[in-house]
Every structure is written in C-alpha cells, then in structure tokens.
C-alpha cells in the first residue's frame, strides 16, 4: 500500500486530529489510546469496581424497608388497641420478610450457598449485620403473626390463649426493634463502601431509606383500608422529612466526586423519587387525596432505590470521581 492511498491519508488526518484535540469522535475511532492518552486516570478505566447488583437489590431495599417499618406500626397499633391494623401490619411484615429473603438469595452469585452467610457474625461488615437483622426480624415477625392470628381467632382455650397473647406481644415488639434496623441498615450497607457517590452521602442514606420505609408502610396500610388519623400523620411526617432530604441533597454537593448524582441521568431517578415521596405526597395529603399521596410515596420510594443503585454504578465507573473524593 502506497503512502498516498486514501486509507493512509485518512490515517494521517486522524493522527493530526488526535494530536491537536486528544479525542477523535466517530464510530470505531479511539485514538485517545494513541500516542498521548488524554482520558482521566489510566485510559479512563474505572479505579474502583461498580456494584454487580441487579434489580433484586433495589426492590429488596424497598420491600425490606416497608416490612420492617410495618412492624413498628404494628407494635404502636397493639399499644393503642388497633388490633385489626396490627394484624394487617404484621401480615405485611411477614410477607415482606419472605419476599426479601427470596430476593437476596436470587441476587447471590451462588444462591445454593446462601446459608454460608450465617457462618460468621461480623460487626464490621454491614452485609453480615444486615443478614442477622433480617434473620432476627423473620424469627420475630412470622411467629409473631401466627401468635397474633391464633389469639385473634380464639383458637385455643383460656390458658394457652393467655400465653399466646404474651408471646405475640413480645414477638411484635421484637420485630419492631429489628424492623427499624432492617429499614435503616441498607443505607449503611451502601454508605460504607468505596463508591464515591455512596460514601459521601452515608449520613443521608440511612435517614432516606428508613423514612421512606416508614412512609411506604403507612401508605400501603392506608391503601389497604386502614384510614386512621395516626397513619395520615405518619404520612405527613415521612413526606416532610423526604422534602427536607430533597433540599439537603440539592445543597450537599461535592463537585466532581458525586457528579453521578447531580449531573448524570441516573441522578434524576433519585430526584424524581424524592419529589414523589416529598413535596408531591405532602401536597396530595394536604388536599385530602390520601390514596394518591400513598401511591405517590410508594412509587417514589421504589424509584429512588433504583436511582441509588444506578448512581453507584455510574460513580464507581468514573475514575475522576474517585480521585476527587479522595482529595476531599
């Protein structure tokens, strides 16, 4: 091939352009890897690994938060003698813990080895703590529901029924204790990682996930027909906190380090979620459109969980974010 053939001429053009601009746009052309690399870091390769988690994890965050906080509502309902509400809330908790376990096992690379999670108890691993919290929550909420239902239907005679009543009480309060941790630990789980957009917001995340769980639980119970003033008040509380968090997130910027949240499209999932759970739910509730407020909150809580995982993938693949976060 002679040096004045069209392909050689084109190659010379590309070299010239690469030399001057660093980047030659176009399909199949990546001269950035040519003589002088201009991409950040090492050819733009990720410095930390983005999460490998798929759709199961955000849905687990949503269901886990909802069922955990249902148990809190159940225990308050028991204290204030709303037995029907307590039963529905405990059902939500029990169904939620089963779905959560299924989702978590599905997400594993080797689902058949899930039981290895219970080999160790590591306080320094949020994942290990989460597994134990979920297990303890399940061990409280499922028998708690059975005891509550047996007691409510008066299946057994006096003595056994009294024992069931006490057992149900203890188990419901136990599930409330582990339920609040189940709803909030997920924020610690992704907050204590090497992903810049996550660890820079490690204080934000547990507040957001926990409160979204509480609001979702109240909202779903309202949709299931429990139109109590107390649940409406909880809906107000959750929506108000989420509105404040929306403002916090838009103020608490870390420049390049968390640009996945503020500049990338996946950040919009978080913001849409925050708008649906925050201001919109608040306004709908104010105008008495309680079911719509509940639906808005539930959708927002789910969308925002997907947003946070998506942002983690973007942020983890961005070498400049990692460098910027470390210079912070």
């Amino acid at each position: 091939m002679t040096s004045d053939s069209p392909s050689e001429k084109r190659l010379e053009e590309l070299r010239e352009q690469a030399w001057q601009e660093g980047v030659v746009p176009g399909k199949g052309v990546d001269v950035t890897g040519g003589p002088i690399p201009r991409k950040p870091g090492y050819y733009g390769q990720p410095v930390v690994k983005p999460p490998v988690w798929t759709w199961e994890i955000p849905i687990y965050f949503f269901i886990g938060g909802l069922s955990g906080m249902s148990a809190v509502i159940a225990s308050a309902a028991v204290l204030f003698h709303h037995v029907d509400l307590a039963r529905t809330a405990m059902w939500l908790g029990a169904i939620g813990v089963i779905l959560s376990s299924i989702l978590l096992i599905m997400d594993l690379g080797r689902p058949l080895l899930f039981i290895n999670m219970l080999r160790v108890f590591k306080h320094q691993s949020a994942m290990s703590m989460g597994v134990w919290i979920l297990s303890m929550f399940g061990a409280c909420v499922v028998p708690g529901l059975i005891a509550l239902e047996l007691h409510a239907h008066q299946v057994f005679g006096d003595t056994i029924d009294q024992l069931l009543r006490i057992a149900a009480g203890i188990l419901i309060f136990g599930s409330a204790f582990f339920g609040t941790l189940l709803a909030t630990y997920t924020g610690v789980l992704i907050g204590a990682t090497a992903i810049p957009a996550w660890f820079l917001h490690r204080v934000f995340l547990p507040i957001h996930f926990g409160t979204a769980g509480l609001g979702s639980a109240a909202g779903l119970l309202e949709l299931l027909g429990h139109r109590l003033a107390a649940l409406n008040a909880l809906g107000y509380y959750a929506a108000a906190v989420e509105s404040a968090l929306l403002i916090w997130l838009s103020v608490d910027k870390h420049g390049m380090a968390d640009r996945a949240i503020h500049e990338h499209s996946s950040g919009w999932l978080i913001r849409i979620g925050e708008i649906l759970t925050g201001p919109l739910a608040l306004i709908l509730r104010f105008f008495g459109l309680v079911p719509f407020a509940a639906i808005s909150f539930l959708i927002g809580a789910l969308v925002s969980r997907f947003g946070w995982i998506a942002v983690g993938k973007v942020s983890g693949s961005d070498p400049e974010s990692v460098f910027a976060a470390e210079r912070y």
Partner: protein
C-alpha cells in the same frame, strides 16, 4: 544493577508459610519490559479464564483492568515526558521541524533530533496486582468469612465458601476483586489474586514473580522488600528519574499494602487511588445516622398514635 543489594527470593525455595513470615511483592516498572509473562504464568498456574480476545486501542494493553479473571495486569503508559536522562528525538507525530528530518540524510536526523525537536516521550510498563492491604476492605466486608488473612499476611478468597454476594466488589478501594460472570468456570464467586498461596505452602515462589525475566516483580520478605524499594527509588532519583516514588499508602486507613509499587509520576496515571481508604472508616457515621433514624421513626409512630387517634 539487577541482583545487587537486597536479594529477592524469586529463584529460591522458602519456608515463609511455615515460619509465619510476612511476604510481599515489589513491582518495579523501571525494569519492566512489558512482556506480560506474569499475566500468562498467572493464568496457566491458577487456571484462570481468558480476558476475552478484543483490541482495546489502549497502547499494547488489551487486558484492560484487574478483575475476576485478571489477577495480573500489565499497564502500558505512553506519556509526553522524558524517562530519566533519556534523550528523545523526532520519533513522535509530525512536528513541522521533524518532518524533513524523516526523509533527510542520517546526519540531519541527529542534528534536528538532538538540537531542536524536543518531543519528550516515554513508555512505562507496570504489572498491577491485588495489593493485599494491611486493612483490607474486601476482608472486612465479607459476610461469609470466605475472605481470610493467611500466615504470610496475604488476603485469600476461599472459593468453596464464597456465595457471591458481591459486597467485597464495592468495598475494595483499588477495584481489584470482582464477581465472575456466567458462563465461565466457577461463575458467581468473587475472585482475585491468591498470592499463589498453594505454591507458597510448598515453598515455591508465586508464578508471576518466578517467571518475570527482569525481576521487575520481586517476591520476598516484606521488610526486605520495603528496604529494597526505598533503595531503588533513591538509585533512580540519582539517575535523573526525578518523579520516581514508592506507591504504598501507609498514612491512610489502608495502613500500607503488601504488594507495593515503584511508580514514575502520579498514581492517578496508573489508575491507582492517591489516598485509598478502607470503607470501614465510614461505618461509625453511617450507623449513627441509622440508629438516629430508627429512634426517630419509633418516636414519630408513638406520637402519631398517641395524639392522632
């Protein structure tokens, strides 16, 4: 130069595992020739799947980055800087003054090359590997106890225990460990460099160090290697490599790495984080926030039921 000073154990049998001696890798790009024998030896010995047969366009590096099936990775850096006292000529892209020299006579080349056409260029090769951190993010994060610390101070994933939860992947500040996707062998588990623990138990040297033809990868006692690294940096700086430095983040929460590097220039250029932190340092503030939220939720629920029913 090579073979002087502190001896490596690359070619000797050893009993470090039996004697519980901390060992390490010292990787020195100034003598690396980019042959990728370490990558090949690692794959052969550990029976690691291939990295895919694709062209990256990034110099001669078609491996990409460390991952579940890439435990050694030779980086190819092309930089517009000189290497030590290197004399550069009109080797780069057509600067106006260099163009006639290309077609001109031999004497023109030397005249233009040395006098006028300053076109600094250097090529650096560095074999990247799992750092075997003093405070390892993956080890702390592992919820199954699959990742352990060995007698020689390395971090080892026990493949038969790992259930593939993926938490180590986001906990490694260096982006080393990853989950191996289907349909590869042993898919679903997390994998990284084993420091050839199996070889070390038999008194052998890790495969990559054993095969390295220039002793760019040196295996040995960690304290010996640290001394050797410091000596080598001094030696290079005296020879004009003013930007030679050790990459061993001892002052961050990682508290040092067992596989440390000599680098020319900034760590960012090698995709190495300048100040890596082990993610466990974020736990305190995150858990405080979680407990505060938990208590606030309980109080809010009790208040709601007490005053609004």
């Amino acid at each position: 130069m090579i073979g002087e000073g502190i001896q490596s154990t690359n070619q000797r049998k050893h009993s470090y595992v039996r004697d519980n001696v901390e060992v390490g890798f010292f990787t020195d790009p100034s003598v690396c020739i980019g042959c990728k024998a370490c990558e090949v030896a690692c794959k052969e010995w550990n029976q690691v799947p291939d990295d895919g047969f694709t062209w990256s366009g990034n110099s001669y590096d078609n491996t990409g980055h460390l991952g579940a099936s890439t435990w050694r990775h030779v980086m190819f850096l092309e930089q517009d800087r000189q290497k030590g006292n290197q004399i550069t000529g009109p080797m780069g892209l057509p600067a106006e003054s260099a163009s006639p020299a290309r077609t001109g006579s031999q004497s023109d080349v030397s005249a233009v090359g040395l006098a006028e056409a300053e076109d600094p260029f250097r090529w650096v090769f560095l074999s990247d590997v799992c750092k075997h951190c003093e405070e390892a993010g993956c080890l702390e994060a592992c919820p199954t106890g699959s990742i352990v610390r060995t007698e020689v101070g390395s971090v080892l994933v026990q493949n038969d225990v790992c259930n593939g939860c993926g938490y180590c992947v986001v906990s490694c500040p260096f982006g080393v460990i990853d989950r191996r996707p289907a349909p590869l062998m042993d898919a679903g588990g997390a994998f990284k460099c084993t420091f050839c623990y199996d070889r070390q138990k038999s008194g052998l040297v890790p495969a990559c160090a054993k095969v390295c033809p220039t002793e760019s990868i040196v295996f040995g006692r960690l304290d010996d290697l640290r001394a050797r690294g410091a000596e080598r940096v001094q030696q290079l700086q005296e020879s004009g490599y003013s930007d030679a430095q050790l990459y061993d983040p001892t002052e961050t929460s990682v508290r040092g790495i067992h596989a440390f590097f000599l680098i020319l220039g900034e760590p960012e250029a090698y995709g190495l984080p300048p100040k890596p932190q082990v993610p466990t340092i974020y736990l305190k503030s995150a858990w405080t926030s979680a407990f505060a939220t938990a208590i606030a939720s309980i109080i809010a629920t009790l208040v709601a039921f007490a005053f609004f029913s």
